[in-house]
């Protein structure tokens, strides 16, 4: 199991959750006007991509998860990757 260190420096950590990642990736896909079914598929693919990357790592940061998720999204949906990376700017 991979431990995720949160970015706010408070040293809270949690186990890596594919559900949280799927939700955020799915939201980025929907923001890029991807149909809902396809958004879910892309989210599952990205989640598997990140899980594969993290399987041998015992601790990663939330920034790492975002970075690798962005790498995965760039492969499966470049438009959603842009939304995912720049969502704070967009909002």
């Amino acid at each position: 199991m991979t431990e995720v260190i949160k970015r706010n420096g408070s040293r809270n950590s949690e186990e890596f959750s594919t559900e949280k990642l799927c939700n955020s990736v799915s939201a980025a896909c929907l923001a890029a006007r991807t149909p809902e079914g396809e958004a879910r598929q892309v989210a599952d693919a990205v989640s598997a991509f990140v899980k594969e990357w993290s399987k041998d790592r015992h601790g990663v940061t939330s920034d790492d998860i975002r970075r690798i998720a962005h790498q995965g999204l760039s492969i499966f949906s470049p438009e959603a990757a842009y939304e995912y990376k720049n969502h704070k700017l967009v909002l």
Binding site: E3, I5, D56, R57, H58, G59, V60, T61, D63, D64, R67
Partner: protein, 457 residues
């Protein structure tokens, strides 16, 4: 007053290979608290599947080949053979005798804490390993490199070997295609050709050993083709590979024509990628896919983190990694920092004859627009070529217009020994004239060095 931060270790070394071990040993001998983190086999590539096993097998195959060709010296060699499993046992003995191969206790006996885990930076002073977090005042990134599957259609769908696992085979293949034409490729080519394997080398560049002087690649190609029956396909690009029954069918492009050939096994020696995916962003260490960025003192963009070895990019020989590791250890703990001198580090290919070079090649000089003179002494003009009955080889020396030696290439038996005299010359800016007047023993191969130097002086 702010408290000095407390760390678990003075130094954590990520990687236990040639770039990590010396630094860890030096630091611990100087009273520092040191840990090594290794995700793979302790000792790294060199003792486990690199230099030690390959060169020990090459030694045995050179003996075998020389003995088989001994009839011209009056040696009866018709019944000479080999036992592949015995050869592998010899190789395993050589690995075991290094002490470092696959031996975690080797480090623990020196007082170095060891962790068998991947390391991942969480912050500039903290890494995560095995569900623990370790902190250190300093880090040395010696994570090495790994083989990435080249982007060739179909290659991912068929089994192929890399230098990591080719020596695990139980018997030599009937035919072998080697992708790549560098030092490792020609060493494996000679190794397997000695066992009777039909070897093909495929290289995109115009010659073997593209990073050496052109004469070295041409001479070695001639020897491999003529004496070992190796087929060398330079200026060749592989288009696709696929399974064809028990064989592998390779389609390649050469001279504008598509051709194919079938082999039993494929060995990929190209495509080394630095292992930079260790959370360097969290430590603010700058890097690219080509490697970690360091200054001349091997210091990264985070001043307490250093890096050495293959992780800096470009496949390096073990001696370079060793030098960098020792220098990194000095630079981490001493105010007086030292920069590695790469110019006088020899590169050696352990074929027979060997190929060795030091300093600048002729291509390097041309790129820098240097005004140079070169001289080549073929081996067949020195007495040793007669008594050893070996004539294919040379010593080439490159000097500037004042005669200062800038670089040299040797293709000869024991090239790896001969080159060190020239490395000394390059390091201390000796002239060809100084080398020419230095006595060289009669009937030594090094007489060719004196002859080449005298042609320049």
């Amino acid at each position: 007053m702010a408290r000095k931060p407390q760390f678990d270790y003075d130094l954590i070394v990520i990687g236990s290979g040639a770039a990590g071990s010396p630094a860890a040993t030096i630091a611990t001998q100087n009273g520092k608290k040191v840990a090594i983190v290794e995700k793979d086999i302790f000792g790294g590539e060199s003792p486990n599947w690199g230099d030690i096993p390959v060169k020990s097998l090459l030694h045995a195959t050179h003996l075998y080949s020389e003995a088989k060709d001994g009839a011209r010296f009056g040696i009866r060699s018709s019944t000479i053979g080999y036992n592949f499993m015995s050869l592998k046992a010899w190789k395993d003995l050589a690995i075991k005798r290094t002490g470092a191969g696959n031996n975690r206790r080797y480090y623990e006996k020196q007082g170095i804490s060891t962790y068998a885990s991947t390391a991942h930076f969480l912050s500039p002073h903290e890494i995560a390993i095995n569900r623990r977090h370790l902190t250190a005042a300093n880090f040395l990134i010696a994570a090495g490199s790994y083989w990435e599957t080249p982007d060739i259609v179909g290659l991912k769908n068929i089994p192929f070997y890399t230098p990591r696992d080719i020596l695990d085979i139980t018997r030599p293949p009937k035919s072998l295609l080697i992708l790549g034409g560098d030092s490792a490729a020609v060493e494996y080519a000679q190794l397997f050709a000695a066992f009777g394997t039909k070897v093909y080398i495929v290289e995109r560049a115009g010659r073997l050993l593209p990073n050496e002087d052109s004469e070295a690649g041409e001479t070695l190609s001639y020897i491999l083709k003529r004496k070992k029956g190796v087929e060398i396909l330079t200026e060749t690009r592989i288009l696709s590979v696929e399974k064809n029954g028990t064989l592998k069918k390779i389609i390649y492009l050469r001279g504008g024509q598509e051709k194919s050939l079938k082999v039993d096994e494929i060995l990929v020696t190209t495509g080394r990628t630095p292992s930079v995916d260790i959370g360097l962003e969290n430590a603010s260490v700058r890097y690219t896919p080509k490697g970690v960025e360091v200054n001349e003192f091997l210091q990264t963009s985070t001043k307490h983190i250093f890096a050495a070895g293959d992780v800096l990019g470009a496949k390096k020989q073990t001696q370079t990694a060793l030098i960098e590791s020792r220098i990194a250890a000095n630079n981490i703990f001493n105010k007086q920092k030292v920069a590695p001198d790469y110019n006088s580090v020899p590169n050696i290919t352990f074929t027979n004859p060997g190929v060795a070079s030091v300093g600048l090649s002729e291509d390097d000089c041309l790129k820098r627009d240097l005004d140079i003179n070169t001289a080549i002494a073929p081996l067949n003009i020195i007495a040793r070529s007669n008594t050893s009955d070996f004539r294919d080889g040379f010593v080439k020396i490159i000097a500037d217009r004042h005669g200062v030696i800038l670089g040299a290439t040797v293709v000869a038996p024991h090239a790896g020994e001969i080159i060190h005299e020239l490395a000394l010359a390059v390091k201390y800016g000796m002239t060809a004239g100084e080398l020419a007047v230095t006595p060289h023993a009669f009937l030594s191969w090094s007489e060719a060095v004196r002859v080449a130097a005298s042609r320049l002086s």
